[in-house]
Symmetry: C2
């Protein structure tokens, strides 16, 4: 993730043959700022944008696969297709925009539900010069709410292995990576505790029921992690102790009804300073007294924004 | 992630019209076990598999977009297309297998490079009954090595915003989510310290140069995290303290030359017990004396494997 932003483009005339449908319908949410300082900058920017759009290898229908991924959790939110206009619109509006092949129009995810996907960066795959006919695009962004029209966080909740195991049971199990799979399991343990039957005993449940035990374990595991450095233990010991402390810290988050993804949002907001809109988005997650970790300036992006890193 | 496995299928005759190319060429790596106990089970399993394959909405060419995602880091490794045979082969072999449209053959990622993607679960998207003509597939798995033929960890390292900013500079910046973007920045700080010029001062660099300071901060932040629970502070304080402790713990990992992804692999290996192959894969990451967090049995998968969760 570049933590880079391209506000200049937001006031550009899109190099588009077809107007994007509804993609500016919600002005308040789009909060498009007039950041470009003069016409020269504008022309220069537009020409760069055309160069980038020209470099994309569109298929014979002018399309490319576009995957939207959550910048914090890494979850694959959805997959669609983009054409040149959809990509240009996404770059300019920073809202994930696709081309609907069935309706033959652009559509911005969230234009109806208001669950936009706020794009932080866009990546292309490597096959610029190979025999393959498609380019692939990742929209790396933050969703305002559930991405799937069913209300599910993502569109991927049908596990083939589950279907093979129990075809008659319609289960909803999101495609979760390790950390979020662990978090989901910890949440289930908490739910079991609040039910009429508390289910099988588990270490997680013991921790959830005993704050004193949980806190003593976190302090103990943090100490053990430090000792692997202080006593120059083997790297595998460090990995193991880090796994221990992370697990216990995640139990504390669950105990308090919090999500790991929100911790990542705090981290992201803390080590980026990228304009009013971003700061406003982050305000709810950040206490005012929290500084960035340091003042190491990495980018001065078109002199429009400063991005501060750890 | 289901942490579920389907070894029974590994000895099945694939319901395929076309043999998979080279997908059994490396017997040692595949380690296919004969787990099905009797012919009835086998027939039952094959019929279930056909039902699942029939439920997939293939496009007019019999294809669906297939995305390979890292089970630990969440990184999107690559995107290709799968047909019925490719999906059946992936289910059976647990190696991500695609259909090459240019060569009109199946290909298993890694058949040449040996950098297989070991599939843990497969997810389909939600549009089973919509007007859309495509089904989308996620292969959630663990790559043996770099996925991209360029040697890059994933195929997504070309940032559009970077290209717009500095079109003349060919940069390689992977599409990293928040945690891995932070990790990448911490690594850069460490690299700067080992160079002739140490670059601008930063808090991260101070920590990397002073083990005593780093360890005292980890203990302090872990304590502060606990106190948000003990003193019933607001949830935003917990998120903030968790962000603090996580950042400092990640600095310790970098200090020791370790990756956060390896911590997640330890966690995954620890809370799954899923057969000899999985255990062997995990051995290098796990010390022998590490127990699972508890013995809460969730699945008894076809009575072939037990999957143990926290």
């Amino acid at each position: 993730m570049a933590f880079a932003h391209f506000h200049g483009l937001q006031s550009l005339q899109l190099p588009s043959q077809e107007p994007a449908r509804n993609h500016t319908s919600n002005n308040k949410r789009y909060a498009i700022e007039a950041c470009v300082k003069n016409t020269d900058d504008n022309i220069h920017l537009e020409s760069k944008l055309n160069l980038v759009l020209d470099s994309v290898k569109w298929d014979e229908k002018g399309l490319a696969v576009a995957i939207a991924q959550s910048v914090d959790s890494g979850a694959i939110l959805m997959q669609g297709f983009a054409n040149r206009d959809a990509l240009a619109t996404t770059i300019a509006s920073k809202k994930a925009t696709f081309y609907s092949r069935s309706r033959s129009t652009l559509w911005t995810k969230g234009e109806t539900s208001l669950n936009f996907i706020n794009v932080h960066d866009i990546f292309l795959d490597c096959d610029h010069d190979s025999f393959l006919t498609l380019c692939r695009i990742i929209y790396l962004g933050k969703p305002d709410g559930p991405t799937c029209h069913t209300g599910s966080e993502t569109c991927y909740y049908t596990s083939i292995f589950d279907s093979l195991n129990e075809p008659q049971v319609e289960k909803r199990q999101l495609a979760l990576t390790t950390l979020y799979s662990l978090e989901s399991t910890l949440s289930k343990r908490k739910e079991e505790l609040s039910g009429p039957q508390q289910g099988k005993p588990s270490w997680t449940k013991r921790l959830l029921l005993d704050d004193k035990l949980l806190c003593s374990k976190i302090r103990e595991e943090a100490d053990e992690l430090c000792r692997t450095l202080e006593e120059n233990e083997d790297g595998t010991r460090t990995l193991s102790e880090m796994a221990d402390v992370l697990y216990h810290e995640m139990v504390l988050l669950i105990r308090r009804g919090l999500n790991f993804e929100d911790v990542l949002e705090v981290l992201r907001c803390r080590f980026t300073q990228s304009g009013i809109e971003e700061k406003n988005n982050c305000k709810q997650k950040l206490s005012n007294d929290l500084p960035s970790f340091d003042e190491h300036l990495l980018y001065d992006f078109f002199n429009l924004k400063n991005v501060v890193f750890v």
